[in-house]
Symmetry: C2
C-alpha cells in the first residue's frame, strides 16, 4: 500500500484532489472525511434547485452521466474511501494523525496520515441581530438547508420573504423565490447599493431597476436590525427604515473561511480567518495541504492575498494540491476574482478590481464607462452591454472590468478574455488589441473590450475629459446646484426634443453632431457643456472638435443615454 | 493647416485611421480615396444582408445611431475628405504624391502627401476554370456584388446554387441562400473537408452533418473543374465527380492581398502578395503606412508572418497606424488568427494553430479532444461543445483551440480567453488555471477550457494513451482490418447494449465503469481495448486503473460518443 492521504472536506476541492491523487498514485490509500451526510455537490447550483430549474437535489451531486456521487460511487469507481457524518476534531501534527468522531455513533478514533489536506470550506455569516435564530431563518450554505427551504415553499408556507444581503447569493435567491414560486421578496443590503465593492453604483442601479421590474423589492443602504419573531416563527424584518413582512428570511451576508481545525493545530491562519498556503497549496506544515473556500490566494492584480470562495477556484486548487502530493510540482498562482451572475434577463459580472477597490488599494484608478453592442450593431439580435474598465492612470495598466448585459454568454466572453489579460498585467494598449473572434453574430469589428480600452487610452492621455455618471445624476436631481452647467444633447433633434422641452433651454440644449462643425459658434462659452449622446462616442468627437476651436468648456458623459435608460431616473420625463 | 494625410482604401482600416488621426491632429488634412462609390461598410455582414437578417445594405454602412457613412457624413462629422469612384494609379515616393483618376470623368491629377496609408484590402480569388466569367458567377467581395446577388434571388431567378469553397464565407453564403430563400444549395470544397487547415476532420465532419441536415449538400474532396455556361448563363458546375445544376455560382475560394500599387511603388511585398509592415504599420517606406487585408502580420504562436483578412484586425491596425502618424508610438504586435462562424444552429471557431498547421510548422504537436458541457451539466440549457486543444509535447505550450458548439456565445468565451493566453505563450498548466467566470448558467466549476488542458497534461505526461477519432472511424469502417482490436464500452449496460448487439461481442463488449474494479479480470488481455464512453473521462480513469493492475492494453477514445453522435457515422446502428 502506498501513501496514506486523508482529506477533510468532501464538497469541491476535497473530492477533486482525492480522485486526482488516486489516479496519479493508484496505490495510495485516500480517505475523504466530511461531517455532512451529503458530499460532492455543486453548491453554486442551490439557487437553481430552489427555483426549480434543477428539479432534484440529486442532480447537484450527480455526474454528467447521471451517477450519484455518494460514498458507494467514490468507493467503486474512484477507489476512494469516504467517511461521511464524521467530524475531524483535531490534528496531531507530531504523530501525523487526525482525531475523528462518528457523528452517528459518537465513537472517536485516530486516523494516521502521510499527507493531510484541509478542504473545510467556508461558513455563512449569521448577523448578530435579534431573531436570527428564529424558525424560518435560513442560510444557503448546504444541501440540507436548500432542501428545507424548498420544502417549506413547496408546502405553501412562504408567501413573503426577505433576503438579507445583496451579494451574488442574495440576488440569485431573490430571483429563485420570485420567479418560479411567486414569493413576494425583498432584498436588503446595508451598503448603499447591491453588489457593493464588486460593481459600481452605476451598474448596480441598472441591476436594481431590473430586479424591481421583476417584482423583487430592493432596499439598499438599510441595515437589517432585527428579525421579528412571533411564537418562535419569523414574521418580519425590521430595517433602519421600515418593517418588511416575512415568512422566511434568507441570510446571505457572506461567508468566512472555516479554519478552526487549522488554527487549533497551529497552522498559519491569516487575519481574515483563511488558511495561508503557498502556490503548491501547502500550509505552513508541508505535510498539510489546504484548498478551496478555507484558504486565501494571491490577487494577481493587487498582489495582495484575498479570499475567493468560488467552486471553480476550489477545483483548480484541489487538482494542484493532488499533483504536489504525488510529486508533480504544479502551482496555483492566484486569481483575479472573476464573478458572473444571472439576474432574471440580465447578466452581471466582474473581473479584477472595481473602481472602489482599486482606489482603496492605492491605485491612481479611473474608469472608462461605455455601452457597446454585444455583437455587430446591424445584427438583429444585438443588445447593449454596459461596461466599466478600470485602469491605472500612472502605469496604464488595466485593473478590472465590470459589466451588465443581456442574459447570454456575451459578457462572459469579455470577462474571460479580460481575466487572462489581467493575470499577465496587461496594459490599456494590450486591451486595445485583444483579439476577440469576430463575426457579426458574435461580436463587432471593434469589440466592446477594445473600444473600452480606446476610451481608457483617451482618458489617460487627457484627450477626453469626463463627468462621472454619479455626478451627472446628482446634478440632474438638482440642476440649480450647478448653475454654470448645461447639457448639450448632440443626438438627432427628434431624440433631444423631449428633453429640451422637459428641462427648458437653460438646462438642456440641442445641437446635432453633424451640424456642430458649422454651428459651434452658437454655443455658449460661459457654461460647462455636458456632452450627451447615446453611447458617449459622438460626445467625445465633439469635445475634440470644440477643444480644437478653442472652446475647452465641455465634459463628456460616458456611456450616454444607453446607460441612463437602463438605470432609470426620477428626473427623466415619462416616455 | 497641418499634415497632409492621404489614405487609399475606404472600407475598414482606412476610415478607422482617417477618423482617429483627425481626432489626434484636428488640423491635419485627411483624404480617403476609394475606387468604389460605396465606402465604410461591414463587409463581414454581407452574408446576413443576403440572408435577409439585415434587410437593407445601408445598415451595413450606417453607424449604430443610424447615420449613413457616405461622403457627406465623413465631411460633416469627421472633417475627412473622401474621394470616391477615384482610383489611385501610382505613387511617386520621391515627390510624395499619388496619381489619381476620377473614374466618372476620367480626369487624372496628382495629390501630394506628407503621410500616405495603403488600406487597399484584398481581392477574391477567381478560379481559372472554364465558365468562371459566366453570367451568374459571383464573388462576395463588395456591396455591389452583394446587391446583385440578392436582387437576382429576390426576383426568383435562382432556384439552385453552387458555392465553390468551404471556407467561412462559403459556409455563411450557403446558409444565407438555403435558410431564408430556400435555394437548393451545394457546397464544393476541393480539400478533403470543409474549413480545411482551420479545423480538423473530426470537427468538420460535425459541421458537414449539420449543413446536410439543413439542406446544404456538401461535396468535399471534389475540385470544381468547370462552370457550365449555356447561352452565356451559368447552368451547372462540373466537379471531378459530378454535375451540379446551378442558376448561380458563388466563388468563395479565398482572397489575396491587393498590393499592386505598393509593388509598383517598390515597397517591400511578401511572396504571399502582402505588404510587409513593422509593428507600427509602416511599410518599407516610413512615410507610407499600410493596414488591413493588404498586409501580413506576425502570428504570435508560430512566430511567422501570415495574412489575416479580418475586419477586426483591420480596425485595430488602422488605429495603430493613425497613432503613429500622429507621433504616438502605438504598436500592433500581431495575432493568433481567431475565427468564429455561425452555421445554422451551430457555432464553429478556432484560435491559434490547428493540429495540421502546427505539425506543418514543425511543432511536436498533439491534440486533446474533449466534449464538455458549455455550462453546469445540471443547468437545463446546457449543451455539449466539442473542443480540440492543440499543444506541443516538448515545450508543453498550448498552440491552438478549435471547437464546435451550439449557436450561442459559449464557444466565443473559450476562444477569446484562449486567444489572450496564446498571445502570451501560455502553457498547458496556464490553461488549466485560466479563470473563467463561474456560475451554473454560464460555465462549469471545471470549465471545458480547463478540462481540455487537464487532458493535454495527461497526454503530454503519457498518463493517457489515446486513439484518434480518425483512426477509430477507419477501424469501425472495417473492423477486420484490426483483428486485435476490441471496443470496451464502459457506459451503462443499457447504453452499450444496442452497440454490443449490432457489432457482436468480438468487436464491441460492455463492462460498466462502476464494475471494472471488481470484474476487470474478465477482460481479454490479448487484444487492444479501445475504451469507449460518452466524453472520454471515464475511459481515462479505466485506463489508469487497468494500467495499475498490469493491463496496459488499452487506448482511450477521446471525446467519446458525445462527439460521434454529432459527427454521425455509417457504421452506427440506426437509433
Amino acid at each position: 500500500m502506498g501513501k496514506k492521504i486523508v482529506i477533510i472536506g468532501g464538497v469541491a476541492a476535497g473530492p477533486k484532489a482525492a480522485c486526482r491523487v488516486k489516479r496519479l498514485m493508484p496505490d495510495a490509500e485516500v480517505t475523504i472525511v466530511d461531517q455532512d451526510s451529503l458530499i460532492s455537490y455543486g453548491g453554486c447550483g442551490i439557487p437553481y434547485y430552489i427555483s426549480g430549474d434543477v428539479s432534484d437535489e440529486k442532480e447537484l451531486r450527480s455526474t454528467s452521466y447521471h451517477a450519484l456521487r455518494d460514498e458507494d460511487f467514490f468507493e467503486k469507481t474512484k477507489g476512494v474511501i469516504t467517511l461521511t457524518s464524521t467530524r475531524a476534531l483535531s490534528i496531531d501534527r507530531r504523530n501525523k494523525s487526525v482525531l475523528l468522531e462518528n457523528l452517528t455513533t459518537g465513537l472517536q478514533n485516530n486516523v494516521s496520515y502521510d499527507v493531510l489536506m484541509l478542504a473545510t470550506g467556508s461558513y455563512p455569516i449569521t448577523l448578530p441581530i435579534p431573531g436570527s435564530d428564529g424558525d424560518g431563518v435560513f442560510t444557503v450554505s448546504d444541501l440540507h438547508k436548500a432542501i428545507s427551504i424548498k420544502e417549506r415553499i413547496a408546502r405553501g408556507q412562504v408567501s413573503k420573504a426577505v433576503v438579507i444581503g445583496g451579494g451574488a447569493i442574495g440576488i440569485e435567491m431573490a430571483e429563485a423565490l420570485t420567479d418560479l414560486w411567486g414569493v413576494e421578496t425583498a432584498l436588503v443590503e446595508y451598503m448603499n447599493h447591491i453588489l457593493p465593492r464588486t460593481i459600481s453604483w452605476t451598474l448596480a442601479t441598472i441591476l436594481e431597476k431590473h430586479l424591481k421590474e421583476n417584482n423583487v423589492d430592493v432596499f439598499a443602504g438599510e441595515a437589517a436590525e432585527e428579525i421579528v419573531v412571533v411564537d418562535g416563527k419569523v414574521s418580519a424584518v425590521r430595517t433602519s427604515r421600515r418593517y418588511l413582512d416575512a415568512d422566511m428570511v434568507i441570510m446571505a451576508a457572506g461567508v468566512r473561511p472555516q479554519s478552526q481545525l487549522a488554527w487549533d493545530a497551529g497552522l498559519h491562519v491569516a487575519a481574515s480567518g483563511a488558511i495561508v498556503v503557498n502556490e503548491r497549496m501547502q500550509s505552513s506544515d508541508p505535510d498539510i495541504y489546504a484548498a478551496g473556500d478555507c484558504i486565501e490566494v494571491c490577487h494577481l492584480v493587487s498582489g495582495k492575498r484575498f479570499h475567493a470562495p468560488f467552486g471553480s477556484m476550489a477545483n483548480k486548487q484541489g487538482r494542484v494540491a493532488a499533483d504536489n502530493m504525488a510529486g508533480i510540482p504544479s502551482t496555483f498562482k492566484g486569481g483575479v476574482g472573476s464573478f458572473i451572475l444571472k439576474a432574471f434577463e440580465l447578466c452581471v459580472g466582474s473581473t479584477g478590481l472595481s473602481l472602489e477597490t482599486a482606489l482603496a488599494e492605492g491605485f491612481d484608478a479611473d474608469v472608462s464607462l461605455t455601452s457597446p453592442s454585444d455583437r455587430a450593431h446591424f445584427f438583429p439580435t444585438q443588445e447593449i452591454i454596459c461596461l466599466e474598465m478600470i485602469f491605472d492612470r500612472r502605469t496604464r495598466k488595466v485593473l478590472g472590468l465590470q459589466g451588465v448585459g443581456p442574459m447570454n454568454d456575451g459578457l462572459s466572453a469579455r470577462l474571460d478574455a479580460a481575466a487572462v489579460a489581467l493575470c499577465s498585467g496587461a496594459s490599456i494598449d494590450d486591451f486595445g488589441n485583444i483579439e476577440m473572434a469576430y463575426s457579426p453574430p458574435f461580436s463587432s469589428a471593434i469589440d466592446g473590450i477594445n473600444a473600452a480600452a480606446y476610451v481608457a487610452d483617451n482618458l489617460c492621455e487627457r484627450r477626453m475629459r469626463q463627468i462621472s455618471m454619479e455626478s451627472f445624476y446628482s446634478y440632474m436631481d438638482d440642476p440649480a446646484s450647478q448653475p454654470d452647467w448645461l447639457v448639450l444633447d448632440v443626438r438627432h433633434v427628434k431624440q433631444a426634443a423631449p428633453l429640451v422641452d422637459h428641462f427648458g433651454k437653460s438646462w438642456w440644449i440641442s445641437l446635432p453632431y453633424d451640424e456642430i462643425r458649422d454651428r459651434y459658434e452658437e454655443l455658449p462659452t460661459d457654461k460647462t457643456l455636458i456632452l450627451f449622446c447615446n453611447a458617449g462616442s459622438r460626445s467625445f468627437e465633439i469635445q475634440v472638435f470644440l477643444d480644437f476651436v478653442g472652446r475647452k468648456n465641455s465634459l463628456v458623459l460616458p456611456g450616454g443615454f444607453n446607460v441612463i435608460r437602463r438605470m432609470g431616473a426620477g428626473w427623466l420625463p415619462a416616455s
